[in-house]
Symmetry: C2
């Protein structure tokens, strides 16, 4: 089933962006009268009928709407220092969204290599991964912020983890996630050169638990993947 | 700590390939008399001293050897139908080797899109990921084979799983891996269009257990990643 994304489905009509119009009419060869499945990334699934099969501005009417609950019993906010080669983060973004994550932040640390991210591109990847994996919720992607600022904003969340290589391997993230699953969790992944001792100590003083991701040394983006999958697996523990 | 790979460390001297020589002498600027850490991908770690710092043929003597045990209490053989865009599989290879896998096979199925793989390139990725993640064992990478032939070769392994989208999400791989960890397991991941019903039935008749990887639809290479991480997580269950 092909899904089409439109951020606002509150109306009884729809009009696609130029990109989505082109994809719908030129690539998928949809025509006037065809039925489409639309999602808004906030849980709404709508049935739409094309009235104008214009490849630059496809529009139509909405004939039915249903609301989907989230398919996970937890939310996860991943905060990661972007890698020098941003391709690696883009790959990771696609993968972790397929697997299941709710919010992503990019963090500038003392040793991180990159201070800019392309938010528009990240959002495109997120929409595409959501559609591809047949999900109804679009993760929120935040711009880049300093570690200091990020930590300040985490005060009210109690389930907080910081992946840090020197942590004993007996203390893995997977084992440290409590059951039943905490409703909101934050996982912080460091840059290619890892966090500094001072950064980790600051996070710990603010309630973050240091965790290991196993005995192998993982690249930043692999650490992100393993972190998100560890939450998904823990939630499956019977 | 930088690791250098040489398939055979049984001798008391070493001589690098042209690639590894160039990397060692030109890129890392190592010189005659410098000490290096060498691994053979079979558990051996050796201390070597450079005698000839030739950027095309770096050689030297081995002064000490230690043997490392595997750092996992299970072995995992991942068999996957290669994706049309092989970049996706190459990227997955790097990631699953970082996370921990012992053997990888490429499978041709009824609906798979690609019949060829570049074994040399796959092996280079494997060596690089092993060194990067500071592991001492190189996974074995097999060429492409038909699903039929692959299944025939799995008879003696009792812990076998086939990821198949229509499997109920209550029956996830993570939950189906028994504890204590089976010493050898095989995980079979289908092509972009999934296995056919007939292929799955054949695998089941040969002892494969159908498993789900959760409620989201995952791309093939994401399924491989989640599968390998599920084994790693299960082994961490206390």
């Amino acid at each position: 089933m092909q899904l089409f994304y439109l951020a606002d489905l509150s109306d009884s009509t729809f009009e696609f962006t130029e990109d989505e119009s082109k994809h719908c009419i030129r690539v998928l060869r949809k025509k006037k009268g065809d039925e489409l499945t639309l999602i808004d990334g906030k849980g709404t699934e709508a049935k739409g009928i094309i009235e104008q099969d214009n490849p630059k501005k496809c529009s139509g009417i909405i004939v039915a709407k249903t609301h989907h609950q989230r398919n996970k019993n937890y939310t996860l906010h991943l905060a990661i220092a972007p890698t020098k080669n941003f391709d690696r983060i883009e790959w990771m973004l696609e993968k972790i969204i397929e697997i299941g994550v709710d919010e992503i932040s990019f963090i500038e640390t003392n040793t991180s290599e990159r201070g800019k991210i392309n938010s528009e591109r990240c959002n495109k990847i997120a929409v595409s991964a959501m559609k591809q994996s047949k999900q109804y919720y679009l993760p929120k992607i935040n711009g880049i912020t300093s570690l200091k600022n990020f930590l300040k904003g985490c005060e009210t969340t109690s389930s907080k983890f910081i992946a840090y290589c020197p942590t004993p391997v007996t203390q893995t993230l997977f084992n440290q996630i409590p059951l039943p699953m905490p409703s909101h969790s934050i996982l912080l992944i460091g840059p290619e050169g890892d966090f500094t001792q001072q950064e980790v100590e600051e996070a710990i003083s603010l309630g973050f638990k240091p965790v290991s991701l196993g005995s192998n040394i993982l690249r930043s983006e692999t650490a992100g993947l393993v972190g998100v999958t560890s939450f998904a697996n823990k939630a499956q523990t019977t």
